[in-house]
């Protein structure tokens, strides 16, 4: 009898749990319109301007992503956080999650039905399409930003181009506050040549392809490093070596590509083009074959990866190469000693077209649908973005330079970062903090370190030389694709990538014939790349109405 009763009770409780689970799952998906109204109905203790933000104590829950390698103290013990809490009157409860656990924890959190108020995620991805557009777990913010985030708004306005357009989802809403540590740059890859060797061989900087090829030959045969050994590597690059690979060489042939794996680009006419079928691609392959045959490339050109190339750049037998910059790259024993920037030549009839680097914000902070204090939360985030607070959260407290942390004002009112990354345990949020510093802002606020300046100068030179593409390929990241389109284009992109590398190796080692080239091009036609891939992007791009 007893057993029966227990069994019945257990079954009932199981059913009840199931029902509550379902119910809570359902109730966690309210419509965005409801949330907007509830959000706007802020508490009576809320102050729309000024500090504190609230008159009565308020506690908000924050889920905060950090990198795996970070060693931080408890956020609510950090002096910078304490100062923030005192100023705003809002107390924060932190849940700190390592980035490798972030996506698991995030999904678990959504499933549990108990959401924090704010997600702080420069170090962890929060898919706006999935969680914002589709599941409405995040609330749209664009209508409230101007009202409650004056600092943020002002900073955006101070830029030539709105860096937060990247945050707009396919449904037109903005689901997060932006994270951007701008460098004020517009070009990723820069071309360098060994000035020492040029001088040693009494050569000038090559200005045509032929000159370049001859220069490389001279490097090879002329023993410019003077050690009697033919150990010079005229062109130090890899085939599929990310930034040290042909993707960053193709701009010489008018094909602007980043170091990723997508083989389409936007030409100056706002057309989406497939890179591997372009003439420029063929020319690149042919040129590389010549170099390879003559031994003007590293013997491991086809096989070496980014790291291997990187190691080689750290020693100094390199003639020509492509990289991000020279300083602060570990090249001090290598190419930094003797390389200089140069504007690369291009074949007749082709213009060099480097990938335009867009400095756009990535998602930094989001607000969940169960947040009952949205205005307060937004004002809090805005408070985090105020310059001094922002720098303190990122680098450490002002004036803590003796401990290897923090920042200080110089005589010109510009900020010098005194953080040299030597602190073992950090009592600031580090680069996990919400940091919104677009280009103009940063250059007027912050004394950039020399390597940043170096890069900015390079970009200016290339811009002046007019060798940067007009419309950044990055827009292709922001084109409004439907979920279906996204999935299908993903598959084709992988196929394209595989096909390119397979054939590129052959082209470089064996050369290009008409037959082999036609066959190569036909590959893509057979895959239906034009309709399924290029046109899809084109259509989406057209919708974006780039100016």
């Amino acid at each position: 009898m007893k057993k029966k009763v227990i069994a019945v009770v257990l079954v009932l409780s199981l059913i009840l749990c199931g029902l509550t689970g379902c119910h809570s799952a359902d109730s966690s998906v309210p419509s965005s319109s409801n949330q907007e109204t509830s959000g706007q109905a802020a508490g009576e203790s809320f102050n729309e301007t000024g500090y504190p933000i609230v008159n009565e104590p308020l506690t908000l829950k924050v889920m905060f992503a950090i990198r795996d390698t970070d060693v931080l103290t408890e956020p609510d013990t950090m002096p910078v956080i304490r100062a923030l809490e005192e100023k705003t009157g809002i107390h924060l409860e932190w849940e700190v999650v390592k980035s490798s656990d972030w996506s698991t924890k995030l999904n678990l959190m959504w499933a549990s039905g108990e959401y924090p108020d704010i997600l702080l995620h420069p170090s962890g991805a929060v898919e706006k399409e999935e969680f914002g557009v589709e599941q409405h777990l995040l609330i749209p913010l664009e209508e409230m930003i101007e009202q409650y985030m004056p600092v943020y708004t002002e900073r955006i306005a101070g830029e030539d181009e709105d860096p937060t357009t990247s945050l707009i989802a396919s449904d037109g809403h903005t689901y997060s506050i932006g994270y951007l540590f701008a460098q004020d740059i517009s070009v990723e890859q820069h071309f360098f040549i060994n000035q020492e060797w040029l001088d040693a061989l009494n050569l000038k900087t090559p200005e045509t392809m032929d000159e370049l090829t001859d220069t490389l030959r001279a490097f090879k045969n002329g023993d410019p490093n003077g050690n009697g050994q033919p150990d010079e590597v005229p062109l130090q690059m890899g085939l599929n070596a990310a930034g040290y690979g042909i993707r960053w060489l193709l701009p010489m042939f008018g094909i602007p590509l980043d170091s990723g794996s997508r083989w389409i680009y936007i030409d100056d006419d706002k057309n989406v083009q497939l890179a591997p079928v372009q003439d420029g691609f063929r020319q690149c392959m042919e040129w590389l074959h010549v170099l390879y045959e003559e031994g003007l490339t590293d013997p491991e050109f086809i096989s070496q990866d980014k790291n291997t190339v990187d190691t080689k750049l750290k020693s100094d037998n390199v003639g020509m190469f492509v990289c991000w910059r020279l300083e602060a790259m570990g090249y001090s024993d290598g190419v930094e000693k003797n390389a200089t920037l140069f504007v690369p030549p291009s074949p007749e009839g082709t213009k060099v077209s480097c990938y335009r680097y867009l400095e756009t914000a990535s998602p930094g902070a989001s607000i969940t649908c169960t947040n009952e204090h949205v205005p307060e939360s937004l004002r809090l985030l805005d408070a985090m973005l105020e310059t001094e607070t922002m720098f303190s959260l990122y680098f450490g407290a002002e004036g803590s330079g003796a401990e290897g942390k923090g920042w200080e004002y110089d005589n010109n009112g510009m900020i010098n970062v005194t953080n040299d990354n030597t602190a073992d345990v950090k009592d600031y949020l580090d680069c996990n903090a919400l940091f919104f510093a677009p280009g103009n802002y940063i250059s007027s606020t912050y004394n950039l370190p020399s390597q940043r300046i170096e890069k900015i100068e390079y970009c200016d030179i290339y811009e002046e030389a007019g060798i940067v593409q007009k419309y950044s390929d990055k827009y292709l990241n922001y084109v409004p694709l439907t979920a279906e389109q996204r999935d299908s284009t993903q598959l084709i992109a992988t196929d394209i990538d595989n096909a390119v590398w397979e054939n590129a190796a052959n082209f470089v080692s064996k050369g290009v014939t008409d037959e082999s080239w036609d066959a190569f091009v036909k590959l893509f036609a057979d895959m239906g790349v034009e309709e399924k891939y290029v046109q899809v992007y084109q259509g989406a791009l057209d919708q974006m109405k780039l100016d």
Binding site: E300, I302, S303, Q304, A505
Partner: protein, 736 residues
């Protein structure tokens, strides 16, 4: 020698107890030893098995990983197009090679990194890139304990043997870029069978932490050995590596999987096995773990034994105590005060008791037999009593139909006991005849009564008795009565025999004297009833003269008749029996006055009449006395008190009960009769007696008090003083 033997033989009960206890103890001990041994072996077997299991687990897992490595190199050997090419000749193959390496790398959770080196080229490949050999050795993967030269040698080694580099720190940009940990173990497998390249697998410490690691409390070290080196180990305690390697080699040589070894003075259990891959796996655990386990759990066993043995011991002790007490008591009862714990003496004592009891029973029986014969011969028994009385005395008269009386006389030397025994033996020989004897002291005769079924056998017995008597006696006379069937005629038969005996002067003694040969009329003439009637009347009247006169009449009558002595005697006997029958309620014991044997002693007729008169007088007196007693309760009370004053329990209640009246009646009647209350009279009796004792004896006052029926001497002294006027002591002193 004898004494000690005697002592040893003298089996004291304690010896026995000690023996039993010793046996029990031995049983317990052997049980305990057996359990302990079993326990020890079980724990040891478990210990060995646990180590084996650990080793098997390690070996199975690691061997399966090594097998995978083997399969990889086999596959690589087959795929010649991607494993045998020169990078500068066919660089595109490197992409395929990298893809393949990537596949292996992704699938494995064993090795962190995989490299391939084609012996005919100077490049090493991993799943991402090619590496020029020198760059690889100098910058890519720098080993702490193996020099670059050695590593290069290993990479190009063509001996076809697997190489294992012991776990060591690995640096280099490859480590920084890809490997998570710093300590790694490196396996280099030749691509067999063609051996054109070497595959290098780098295993990080995390894998071995998990596989070989063990908790500190286990005190276990796990090792993987290869080619006389420790490749990787996880140790919880320090040990000498060389010694371990040597011991392992020794064990392997004799194909022993497990054994106890001593390394650095400490004892360990070494379990080792070589795997197919050529690696030897071994696990070393300190024997202390086993010892501690034994120690810790043996207390449980000891406790168990103790728990079992304590009640057993208590039982033994209490049993032995009970037994010894009993034995002692038994010995005390048997009066064996010295050897009071000797249980042998109990047995002998009981034997003695049994024998003596048997003897006394026999004596008792003989005594009863004699009593029966005597009573039988006096015709004391009535018909219905006789069978029971016979049975009580050991005679079975149910089967008997005849009897006769034998009188024997002997002028012999007084050795009557022996003769009797012989006679009885002769009687016993004939199993249809029973008999017993009584001795007639007055006449110096022995009287035998023989019971039997048939004359023939009885005659035989008679003959034998006669022969026996003649043989053993000087002058032997045997007189035999007639055969009788009626058991009430015992006296008659005696008188017959007596008559025959008296005839000895006239007959030939060399033969049995038979009554039947006496001849003469055997009829008894009974006295006319009127004589008996008169005699009874005379007795009732209580007048002695009348009795005498009547007796004289009877004698005259008898004289006139033609009576033989025998018939006269018989008649006389009958007469007396009849009288007693009549007056039997008087309670007279006839035996005091008359028995049949007296008849033979009468010399003349006067003797007979005297006896008769005496008997009558006794009867008359007893009648008077009884009546007198019946009428005089007081006299009876007095007499009772006079007889029983010494009994402290005597009180009025008891007296009244004895008299058969109530205490009230007693008090009233006594006072009426004697003018004193019965209790005062009793006190007087007692005090008078006390005075007498105090005067005439040296008894203590307390003893006097007891003697006169006072248990409490204080009460006695008070009474005495009240009665006499002095204390007993004073009285005594006054009388001296």
């Amino acid at each position: 020698m004898n004494r000690t033997e005697g002592k040893w033989r003298n089996r004291n009960i304690f010896h026995y107890i000690v023996a039993v206890s010793t046996v029990l103890l031995l049983i317990f001990l052997s049980m305990g030893i057996y359990i302990y041994q079993y326990y020890y072996h079980t724990i040891y077997a478990d210990f060995l098995a646990a180590n084996e299991r650990t080793l098997d687990y390690i070996m199975t897992r690691h061997e399966s990983e090594m097998k995978i490595l083997k399969n990889i190199v086999i596959q690589m050997n087959v795929e010649t197009n991607i494993t045998r090419f020169r990078l500068e000749e066919t660089p595109e193959k490197s992409l395929k090679l990298r893809d393949r390496l990537n596949q292996y790398w992704i699938a494995s959770e064993f090795f962190e990194f995989i490299f391939y080196c084609y012996h005919r080229d100077h490049y090493v490949f991993n799943q991402n890139t090619s590496l020029e050999i020198d760059s690889f050795l100098n910058k890519g993967l720098v080993l702490e304990e193996n020099s670059r030269g050695m590593f290069k040698e290993f990479l190009y080694d063509e001996s076809g043997e697997m190489l294992a580099l012991p776990e060591q720190e690995v640096c280099g940009y490859l480590q920084a870029g890809y490997l998570v940990s710093e300590q790694s173990t490196i396996y280099m497998l030749p691509v067999l069978p063609d051996n054109i390249g070497t595959a290098v697998f780098v295993v990080n410490q995390k894998f071995y932490n998990e596989l070989l690691g063990s908790e500190a409390k286990e005190r276990r070290n796990n090792y993987i050995l290869y080619d006389g080196q420790i490749i990787v180990s996880r140790e919880n305690f320090d040990t000498e590596a060389d010694e371990l390697l040597r011991q392992t080699a020794v064990m392997e040589a004799v194909q022993q999987k497990q054994g106890k070894v001593t390394i650095g003075g400490e004892h360990y259990l070494l379990t080792a096995e070589r795997g197919v891959s050529g690696l030897t796996y071994c696990t070393l655990q300190t024997m202390d773990v086993f010892r501690e386990k034994i120690l810790s759990e043996q207390w449980g066993i000891l406790f168990l034994l103790l728990v079992c043995s304590v009640p057993a011991a208590i039982a033994v002790v209490s049993a032995s105590r009970a037994v010894s007490t009993r034995v002692k008591r038994l010995n005390m009862l048997l009066n064996q005060k010295e050897d009071s714990y000797n249980y042998d003496s109990i047995e002998s004592g009981i034997q003695m008791l049994t024998k003596s009891s048997q003897e006394s029973t026999r004596e008792n029986l003989n005594h009863r037999k004699s009593g029966f014969i005597r009573s039988f011969v006096q015709s004391d028994y009535r018909k219905d009593e006789i069978y029971r009385a016979a049975r009580d005395s050991g005679f079975l008269l149910e089967n008997i139909s005849l009897f006769l009386v034998v009188l024997m006389g002997d002028r012999g030397d007084g050795n009557e006991g022996r003769i009797h025994t012989l006679m009885l033996q002769e009687i016993e020989k004939e199993n249809t005849v029973e008999g017993w004897q009584v001795g007639l002291i007055n006449s110096g005769q022995s009287l035998y009564v023989l019971f039997g079924r048939e004359r023939k056998s009885m005659e035989e017995v008679l003959q034998r008795l006669f022969t026996c008597g003649q043989e053993h006696c000087e002058e032997f006379i045997m007189a035999v009565s007639e055969y009788h069937e009626d058991f009430e005629e015992g006296a008659k038969a005696y008188l017959e025999a007596d008559a025959a005996y008296d005839n000895r002067f006239l007959e030939d003694n060399s033969m049995m004297l038979r009554f039947s040969s006496l001849g003469g009329p055997g009829t008894v003439e009974m006295l006319p009833d009127v004589y008996l009637y008169n005699l009874k009347k005379a007795i009732r009247s209580g007048s002695m003269p009348e009795v005498q006169r009547t007796v004289g009449d009877i004698c005259n009558r008898v004289k006139q008749g033609n009576q033989t002595l025998l018939t006269f005697r018989i008649m006389y006997n009958d007469l007396l029996h009849l009288l007693l029958e009549e007056f039997k309620d008087v309670g007279t014991d006839l035996k005091d006055v008359y028995n049949v044997f007296m008849l033979s002693q009468c010399l003349n007729i006067h003797d007979f009449s005297d006896i008769l008169c005496e008997a009558c007088r006794m009867l008359m007196d007893n009648r008077r006395a009884t009546e007198k007693e019946r009428d005089n309760m007081a006299a009876r009370a007095v007499s009772y008190m006079q007889e029983n004053f010494g009994n402290p329990e005597l009180n009025m209640g008891m007296l009244a009960e004895y008299l058969g009246i109530s205490p009230v009646t007693l008090a009233v009647e006594f006072r009426n009769s004697e003018n004193i209350s019965p209790s005062d009279y009793l006190v007087a009796i007692r005090m008078e007696k006390a005075k007498e004792l105090l005067e005439n004896t040296k008894l203590l006052v307390k003893e006097v008090s007891q003697a006169v029926g006072y248990e409490d001497d204080h009460v006695f002294m008070r009474r005495f003083k009240k009665y006499v006027g002095k204390t007993p002591k004073e009285y005594r002193m006054g009388r001296m």
